[in-house]
Symmetry: C7
Subunit: 92 residues, 7 copies
Amino acid sequence: MSTTFKPLADRVLIEPAAAEQVTASGIIIPDTAKEKPLKGTVIAVGPGKKDEPMEVKVNNIVIYGQYSGTEIKIDGKDYLIMKQGDIYGIVG
Amino acid sequence: MSTTFKPLADRVLIEPAAAEQVTASGIIIPDTAKEKPLKGTVIAVGPGKKDEPMEVKVNNIVIYGQYSGTEIKIDGKDYLIMKQGDIYGIVG
Amino acid sequence: MSTTFKPLADRVLIEPAAAEQVTASGIIIPDTAKEKPLKGTVIAVGPGKKDEPMEVKVNNIVIYGQYSGTEIKIDGKDYLIMKQGDIYGIVG
Amino acid sequence: MSTTFKPLADRVLIEPAAAEQVTASGIIIPDTAKEKPLKGTVIAVGPGKKDEPMEVKVNNIVIYGQYSGTEIKIDGKDYLIMKQGDIYGIVG
Amino acid sequence: MSTTFKPLADRVLIEPAAAEQVTASGIIIPDTAKEKPLKGTVIAVGPGKKDEPMEVKVNNIVIYGQYSGTEIKIDGKDYLIMKQGDIYGIVG
Amino acid sequence: MSTTFKPLADRVLIEPAAAEQVTASGIIIPDTAKEKPLKGTVIAVGPGKKDEPMEVKVNNIVIYGQYSGTEIKIDGKDYLIMKQGDIYGIVG
Amino acid sequence: MSTTFKPLADRVLIEPAAAEQVTASGIIIPDTAKEKPLKGTVIAVGPGKKDEPMEVKVNNIVIYGQYSGTEIKIDGKDYLIMKQGDIYGIVG
């Protein structure tokens, strides 16, 4: 990403995983889930807030809710910007 | 679980008990309950939050509300990710 | 109760009083009440929260709202799990 | 009241004034009021909360909103249990 | 007022100004206002709350919202009991 | 204004600018705006609150939302009383 | 901008980017996004609040939600006034 993007506060910029990569990583979203969690890679992390220190780091693979975040396109590529509180956890 | 999953903040990863194990453990969900509590095993625990220290530990058997958490599949197995505040208590 | 149950945070496990014991204890629920308070015995108490120290103790007889808590069956017996804030007071 | 009742937190047990006593005490509820305040005697007081110290004392005559509190019958007599925040003030 | 009334917390007892006195005091409520502010005299003031020190004093002439407070009749006279936060300001 | 008005807490008394003065001041409200901001002069300022120190001063020209505040007439003149948090900024 | 505008608290004055400049800057808004983020230049910044220190600076290029802020016209030019919390991040 030649254009840099610095999230504010407790926001995180995520590159969503392509659909075919999901199975390979060992995380499969159940068909019957009411809300399907999704997977992505952390690209940029805000400085955090007073009561919300940042737990995720750049390059972490994270799982987040299906309806979390806002789509944003930088240099022609799709990203999501969301608050850390919308991220469920980090895949090791 | 070969793939590791590290919950953020006050979130907990739970492996739901299979339906046939529920009776054996001494916890039976009443048919007439408006909301049926369910049972599961804690697989992973977040670091907690400033005002929410973690009380549950890995391998605890916990009871939680029927509609709590989000389904997630890791290495082909079903789990639930939920906030500790959605867990009612620990079965000894 | 051979199976132990440890409530989390400010939750309380209550054994509801049987309907015929209500009159004997001196507490009668009025027929006309919009919400009928109920009576029960405290079986187990959570550790409390930072701003919510526990005031009820095991074996306290407590009064709580008709719609408070969630039903749970342990070793074939009915209990209620609720937050201490849903309990009105202790009968001496 | 032979049965004692100890309210939790910032709750107050009130014996509502009978309708005919209302005029004698100098407090008359207007017919046109959208919400009619009512009068009663404080019977028992909880220990208060961190940010809610108790201002009312046993035997205080208090005025409270028409829809405040929950009815409770102890030893055959009607009481109301409500939070101190639902009480408007003390009649001297 | 022979009967005294001590408001709790951040509540204020107000004697509403009669309709004909409103013009004389220099405050006229516009006909077109969505909510018409009203004027009254402070009769009694609560002790305040931790984050709400009392700014109004007995005998202050205050302006408050049309729908603020609850009507209360003491010794046959109409008063309003409201929280200080519902008062817009003091007329000098 | 011969009658003085002292706003409580974080409230501000504003004299709205007449419609014809708006253009002269360099601030023009767009016709297409969903909510039209308006301009006025600060006449009186409350003492502020614990977490809301006052930033506006008497005689500041301020911009505020179209639906902010409550109309009040003092000595026959129209004013608005609103919380400082409803003011967008100060025109220099 | 000959007329100066000083935002209050945690508010930010933004000059929205013209539609044709969006592509040139490397940020493209996806057609399919539920909410389309927009881009603009920070013109003025408030002093911040106790729990909301200002992270954006004058001349920062920022991304914000499609429905954020209020339109305001100063010296005939269109601006947006919004809270810093409505800004997603800074483009480098």
